[in-house]
Amino acid sequence: MQNISGEVLLDSEGMDRAITRISHEILEKNRGAGSLVLIGILSRGADLAKRIARKIKEIENIEVPVGLLDINLYRDDVHSKLDQPIIQKTEILFDIVDRDVILVDDVLFTGRTIRSALEAIVDFGRPRSIQLAVLIDRGHRELPIRPDFVGKNIPTSKDDRVLVRLKERDEKDVVVSQKNGLKGGGK
């Protein structure tokens, strides 16, 4: 069982409200859902992208296509790790040319994942725009990257860990922060 103790930053209702608000903001900024496509970064960004697509369907009754992106092949630290990460299947089964791409991830931290994702997306074509939606922005950027839509801004220390857990693959919806010193994987 994974350790999800720590300070709760967002509970299930809070998460749902944040996703609802992000969905409205996306629609407002892009004047509807007509030009939108959602691309979620595997694994939990992809789950969040699907949730946003469901919300948009409730609000506007439009099905926005959802793509899944594995960014591991675009990492800048592939060769500094001992073992290669397991690659999951990227599935972008629609044309992104001249669409407004909403890139979705769970936690925005150094920005390196987003840099990798941007590089991957342009390999699929030239979108009209790429916008970034994240559930949590915890600061400490190492690259000039900023989000367009944020669920919650959380000031953290660089060594803290922020864990996002989603019903789709974990037991419940919750975001917790752990002070440095606690063991386990995460970001």
Binding site: L73, H79, L82, D83, Q84, I86, T90, D123, F124, G125
Partner: protein, 316 residues
Amino acid sequence: MTSSTLQSRHLLGLEGVTREEIKLILDTAETFREIIDRPIKKVPTLRGITVLNLFYEPSTRTRISFELAEKRLSADSVNFAKTGSSVSKGETLKDTVRNIESLKIDMIVIRHSSSGSPYFLTQFVDSNVINAGDGSHEHPTQALLDMLTIRQKYGKLDGLRVVLIGDVKHSRVVRSNIWGLKTMGASVAVCGPSTLLPYEVEKFGVDIFTDLDEALDGADVVNVMRIQLERQQAGLLPSLREYTNLFGMTRDRLHRLNKNYTIMHPGPMNRGVEITPEVADSESSVILNQVTNGQAVRMAVLYLLSGKKEERGEEA
């Protein structure tokens, strides 16, 4: 549960490679197939890695497949072909490789007519070594792509009956397929003229047939090996026509197979010798899928081995 890493830093053969490792390679290859279908068929993963393709024997499919796999992953590659090199001036394999490695190579893909030459390289190079076919020993990436092709069609390898037909004695493809398929739980049979079965063939733990019709009874997959005309100088076959009569894969024999059967051939085909054109081009033939899958499998192997260093998972 998928294993997250390969034990060895080289791929010399499938003998001794575990079920988890084979599954990892096939699963990774499956995800890489998507890249081949993209408008821009390239990812930056192996940027900065230099791969030497060392081909001492002629090859079309395997060499182009490895070269493209390297390019799709953004590796830099250099090609060595025996003809036109200093091998004709008498330079040994060891000297050739050590010299080229001094130019800062990270990975070596080797095809050589001597069994064991990839292993020999691992004794003195720092690079990751990938066997692209050595003598009559192994051709692991061919067997991996064969298994990927079978798995795509049936969703599994467990419990399938696979018949390998042809020159069992000299075929490295047969050997790698036997190791891989058995590890993955398939039931394997080999079939060929008794002069082309190796000594102690029974030690492979496969069913052995010298009658093709018997071998085909109840099989799901037929993998037809090329009759290697260049290795038939020793009089092991009375004539090609006799081989075709006894071991040629013809339409008349297909009814012995299970429904939903599959015909495979690693290429290059001798049409009309080991396989008739109507079988090779039939709907059940997956020969061209094999070629596409070959590229994905080679990308997976390059990716999984790249950057693996001496201190971990070292065999022998």
